[in-house]
């Protein structure tokens, strides 16, 4: 630890000290600690904590399903908007009792908004994922529908209508699974 400001001031200060007392007193002028080992450790800890912290906290998507009921609820077929997810993650939709048609994930949002605005609160969305569809695709569809929901609420509010969401998870029948495979 050679040099440094403190060292250079040394002669002047000693002279000043002599004026006041006859005794030769060695005055300590500052001191230095070698910080290198400390800095090493601190950096080590810092990198450790930086690597181990996960900045992404999981978020949740709220889902509610109806209670188990024995009797089936009669639904007007014309108001039924059914969404299917095939085993390979492809998305299909159908209106009423029409044949399922393929639809891209990117178009689902505008389609959901369009259909809901056409039938207002009467439209019932039924979601029928195939049992072998990837879970990631299911959540993606739910996410898109949630986004569409915000848009629908906004548009209906402009017309003074209160939104009542009608959405349900529906079990897919084996026949429908087969039908989707052929599409």
């Amino acid at each position: 630890m050679a040099g440094g400001g403190g060292g250079l001031e040394l002669p002047e200060r000693q002279r000043r000290g002599k004026k006041h007392s006859k005794r030769k007193k060695k005055k300590r002028v500052g001191f230095r600690i070698d910080m290198t080992p400390m800095v090493d450790i601190v950096f080590l800890l810092l990198t450790f904590f930086m690597y181990t912290t996960t900045m992404v906290t999981p978020q949740v998507m709220e889902i509610s399903v109806p209670k188990e009921v024995e009797e089936n609820v009669e639904v007007n077929q014309a108001n039924l908007f059914t969404l299917y997810v095939r085993g390979d993650g492809k998305l299909f939709f159908s209106m009423g009792s029409d044949e399922p048609q393929p639809i891209a994930f990117g178009q689902l949002r505008s389609k959901a908004v369009e259909l809901n605005m056409l039938r207002k609160n009467k439209l019932i969305t039924a979601f029928k994922p195939s049992p072998d569809a990837p879970y990631g695709a299911i959540v993606q569809v739910l996410d898109i529908l949630n986004q569409a929901e915000a848009e629908i609420i906004r548009q209906l509010q402009a017309e003074g209508i209160k939104r009542e969401r009608k959405f349900a998870f529906v079990k897919i029948s084996p026949e429908e699974v087969e039908k989707l495979k052929g599409l």
Binding site: M1, A2, G3, G4, M35, T36, M38, V39, V42, F43, L45, L46, F49, M50, T52, T53, T54, V56, T57, P58, Q59, V60, M61, E62, I63, S64, V65, P66, K67, E68, V85, P129, S130, P131, D132, A133, P134, Y135, G136, I138, V139, Q140, L142, D143, N146, Q147, F169, K171
Partner: protein, 167 residues
């Protein structure tokens, strides 16, 4: 006239500002660090959560029971894992089901039958406990469907899907 060259004998850098900043960062990261829970520390799978758009609702850290559907990193098998976050409640549930000492882990690997019993006991011991399904995005929907059916059977009709924010 030859110039007298001053020989430099090493040099000193004042490390103080750097150390200040480093300590500040260190304390920041130390305080924000969230350590793995007991259950997560011993699990042999990493859940790749499904992506969803940004949402403000975060996973609550108490009064929650999590059904994890994970793919084992070694064997590649999918299975259900069940965790009750509240330790007191967890002990109560395990007592009610007469769990052996080896079974009393913070996170238990379960089949659908045991999952059903565990959820029922969770509902009994803590009616306000919320449920979350933490599934891997690569698994088949069947796994989630079955878990939902078990929840429905136990009258837990409102639950959460754990997702990750799409970057």
């Amino acid at each position: 006239m030859p110039k007298i060259k001053k020989k430099r004998l090493g040099f000193v850098i004042d490390m103080t500002p750097m150390v200040d900043v480093t300590f500040l960062l260190l304390t920041f990261f130390m305080f924000t660090a969230k350590f793995k829970t007991e259950a997560e520390a011993e699990q042999k799978f990493v859940i790749k959560r499904p992506y969803a758009s940004a949402d403000t609702s975060k996973l609550p850290d108490k009064d929650i029971a999590i059904i994890k559907v994970g793919i084992d990193t070694l064997t590649g098998d999918t299975s259900y894992y069940y965790t009750i976050v509240n330790e007191v409640q967890r002990r109560q549930v395990y007592d009610n089901l007469n769990f052996t000492t080896e079974q009393r882990k913070p996170q238990v690997k379960v089949g659908l039958d045991l999952l059903d019993q565990l959820i029922m006991q969770t509902r009994i011991t803590g009616p306000r406990t919320r449920f979350a399904i933490d599934g891997d995005r690569r698994i088949r929907y069947k796994w989630i469907e079955d878990a939902i059916d078990v929840l429905r059977k136990n009258n837990a009709t409102a639950f959460n899907f754990v997702t990750e924010k799409r970057q």
